[in-house]
């Protein structure tokens, strides 16, 4: 058990080695399947060839498709291919890269099956025993007085040790040895060809398009990471949402409000770095069913651009209409450290007390609500006059000139 756990740990350490691990496991499974499979040549002229060749060809196709099924990246590739453009353009090179890497990994198990089958020789013997050229063995065919059909039938029985009755015509061992030898030659040739192909692709590729390759590798890894992070964030959000929803429900029933505790207790801790995100912070401002639905819908239909806001920029709603529900911060508390913790270097002061939040859903979407909250105390002289418009865009309200902001940085750093 311990061994398995360790192997699992090693393989999961990063995505690439996990995929390689799956690939290796499938290759081993394919070899094991072959050895445990009981090959059963029919030894009848009409069916030998189809049985032999299908044993050679159909399991590889099956393993190839299985490789696609087991690979997590297939759904990622399909998603990236089919999504609407949104605010992020699509890069066909990235999709090609993902497709190629998935196919490469899925091709290993079929290759193992084919090479093991050819090395073993049974299916080749079954398929081609009737095409044996007797003159190789120095036998004169017509000397035995057999018709063509009877000869074929005798030759077809070569793969079956126990029912072969043509020993006086042709030694079974000699014939099977001959065909096995050809089959093994094909097997080694097949291995040589795919190794040379893999070598050319991997070792010679840097000579061409190395810079473009670095780019596509980065962005395909990014797409994968982003999907995972999104799923994690949604899970965290759901947890926070559920917790607060339940709390609200209980409070609604009991009539008491006791939610000031968890946002103020952080004052005591000096250690800012390890303060865990409260549930409110995990919500990131998304508090309702339809908003969350919009989040999930837009994630596919209108993916955000690959541009991160710099720390001092105003948050302008970029995803179409943002309904502004401004609520006043009644207790007028100082913009204390708890508010500054999360977000972009403490600039976010959009924290709303959960006590007031209960009322928020009752307010509904009131676009004309002109009161806004500035949690910033009077220290800064850059108050904004937020004009809320019907559409909900904050148009240049916070003039955040880069210059003063940069100066703040400069002042800060020179004092270090």
């Amino acid at each position: 058990m311990d061994k398995f756990r360790m192997m699992a740990q090693i393989l999961q350490s990063n995505q690439e080695s996990f995929m390689n691990g799956i690939c290796g496991i499938m290759a081993l499974a394919s070899a094991q399947l072959y050895t445990s499979f009981e090959f059963n040549c029919p030894c009848i002229p009409e069916y030998n060839y189809s049985y032999g060749i299908s044993m050679l060809v159909i399991p590889p196709i099956w393993f190839f498709l299985l490789g696609f099924v087991l690979n997590n990246n297939v759904s990622m590739l399909a998603e990236e291919w089919k999504r609407p453009m949104g605010q992020r353009r699509k890069d066909p090179a990235v999709m090609r890269y993902m497709c190629v890497s998935i196919s490469q990994r899925s091709l290993i198990a079929p290759a193992v099956w084919i090479s093991v089958t050819l090395m073993d020789g049974k299916s080749f013997l079954c398929a081609y025993s009737m095409d044996l050229d007797m003159s190789e063995f120095g036998k004169n065919v017509s000397g035995y007085g057999l018709s063509q059909e009877e000869l074929l039938r005798t030759l077809a029985k070569i793969p079956c040790k126990h029912i072969y009755d043509g020993q006086h015509i042709l030694s079974r061992e000699a014939a099977s040895r001959y065909i096995n030898c050809i089959s093994q030659a094909f097997g080694w040739l097949f291995l040589l060809i795919i190794t040379i192909a893999a070598f050319l692709i991997r070792a010679i590729r840097p000579c061409f398009t190395q810079a473009a390759f670095l780019k596509t590798k980065y962005w395909s890894h990014y797409v994968d990471t982003e999907r995972k992070v999104f799923d994690e964030t949604c899970t965290e959000h759901a947890k926070g949402f559920a917790r607060i929803c339940i709390k609200q429900y209980f409070e609604g029933i009991s009539g008491e409000i006791q939610s000031f505790q968890d946002n103020l207790h952080g004052d005591d801790s000096d250690d800012e770095g390890d303060k865990p995100a409260t549930d409110e912070d995990k919500l990131m401002g998304v508090r309702r069913l339809d908003t969350m639905n919009k989040v999930l819908w837009d994630w596919h239909t209108c993916k955000p651009p690959l541009t991160l806001r710099k720390s001092g920029d105003a948050s302008t709603g970029q995803n179409g209409d943002c309904s502004i529900n401004a609520s006043k911060n009644q207790n007028g508390n100082v913009c204390d450290k708890t508010d500054l913790n999360e977000g972009q270097n403490g600039f976010r002061c959009g924290y709303v007390n959960p006590g007031l939040e209960i009322g928020q859903s009752e307010l509904g979407k009131e676009h004309n609500n002109a009161s806004f909250s500035t949690e910033q105390n009077g220290l800064t002289n850059r108050h904004s006059n937020a004009s809320t418009s019907q559409n909900g865009f904050m148009n240049g309200c916070v003039s955040s000139p880069g210059n003063t902001q940069r100066k703040a940085w400069a002042v800060y750093y020179s004092k270090v």
């Binding site: 980065y218 982003e226 999104f230 401002g285 991160l308 609520s327 600039f347 909250s373 937020a386 916070v398």
Partner: protein, 331 residues
């Protein structure tokens, strides 16, 4: 269990030992492949030699190519060889060093295969049984009416009927196997001797240059690994920020973001986690910036000079007496 962990840890400690580990694994695979391979001599005069020599030489080629493929240094080598000059000159000695190390490691598994075939003897018997002069051996079955060469070609096949009651087959096999093993052992001895002489005499030639090339080839390997790791970390933080930003854009209440005045800023204690994240981004926050970064990494590799980052100038105050002699200095 602990032993396995220790072994794995040792092998992952640096990239040289990873390559050695892979090389050894490939040789073990080659041994296993040989033992599980069902050698099937056709026992026909026209095909014996072809089959046997094929089995002796085609798998080594495959194993060699596999060894080159699987080796990490191949990628480093090719990249260093074909990259544009950029701001960093190319050192051909490093490329040659990497090439020779890749070749040396990849040659181990093929040699193991060839030695195994020679020491086992089956291939040799299959290939050269027809070249044996049968008059040195008694008991040749000449009653079957077959030509001599056909009889000799059947020697590798044990179960053939013509050798039922004679010791001729065994005698010829033993003779050929003895040749095969002699050749195998001498090849092994030759290579070990060559290796020993090479190791002993290497420091006599250009040791200082060798130290330099070894350092820089190791450096290239580490640099590439670190670049990949940095890209991975960057991608993760980029993704996280992108997703959080996406959620926050759907906010329902108004958020007023204003730049903090310097007074407040100084008293703000930075969240360590945030700082770490920002650090991973290194200021690269847009798609075109990332693209430009990756393009430049290949096309215009930076120079090997980290003075600017490693050494920040420090202000040093020195108190001197009237004669100008330094009495006390403080950084």
């Amino acid at each position: 269990m602990d032993r396995l962990k220790l072994v794995l840890q040792y092998f992952q400690s640096n990239s040289e030992s990873i390559s050695n580990g892979i090389c050894i694994i490939l040789s073990l695979i080659s041994v296993k492949l040989y033992t599980s391979f069902d050698f099937n001599c056709p026992c026909l005069p026209q095909y014996n030699k072809m089959y046997a020599l094929g089995v002796m030489f085609v798998p080594p080629i495959i194993l060699f190519l596999l060894g080159v493929l699987v080796n990490r240094h191949t990628g480093v080598l090719m990249e260093e060889w074909v990259r544009p000059l950029g701001k960093r000159t190319k050192n051909p000695a490093v490329v040659k060093f990497l090439l020779s190390s890749v070749f040396q490691r990849s040659l181990l598994a093929p040699m193991v295969w060839i030695l195994m075939t020679l020491l086992d003897g089956k291939c040799f018997i299959c290939a050269f049984s027809m070249n044996v002069d049968p008059k040195y051996f008694t008991g040749i079955p000449n009653s079957t009416g077959l030509e001599l060469i056909k009889i000799m070609a059947k020697v590798p096949c044990k179960e053939d009927v013509i050798f039922k009651n004679s010791s001729f087959r065994k005698a010829v096999s033993r003779y050929v196997r003895c040749y095969s093993q002699a050749i195998g052992w001498s090849i092994l001895l030759f290579f070990i001797f060559l290796g020993a002489v090479g190791r002993v005499l290497k420091p006599c030639f250009n040791h200082a240059t060798f130290l330099q090339t070894r350092y820089w080839s190791n450096y290239l390997d580490i640099e590439q690994k670190l670049f990949d790791e940095t890209c991975v970390l960057h991608a993760r933080d980029f993704a996280r920020k992108c997703v959080v930003q996406f959620f926050e854009n759907m906010r329902e209440d108004v958020t007023v973001r204003m730049p903090l005045s310097s007074a407040l800023r100084l008293s703000t204690i930075h969240n360590e986690y945030e700082e770490e994240e920002e650090e991973h981004l290194h200021g690269i926050t847009r798609q075109d910036q990332v693209d430009h970064l990756l393009q430049t990494w290949y096309e215009c590799k930076p120079e090997l000079d980290v003075t600017r980052m490693a050494y920040k100038p420090k202000v040093c105050i020195t108190w001197e007496d009237i004669n100008g002699k330094a009495m006390f200095s403080e950084v």
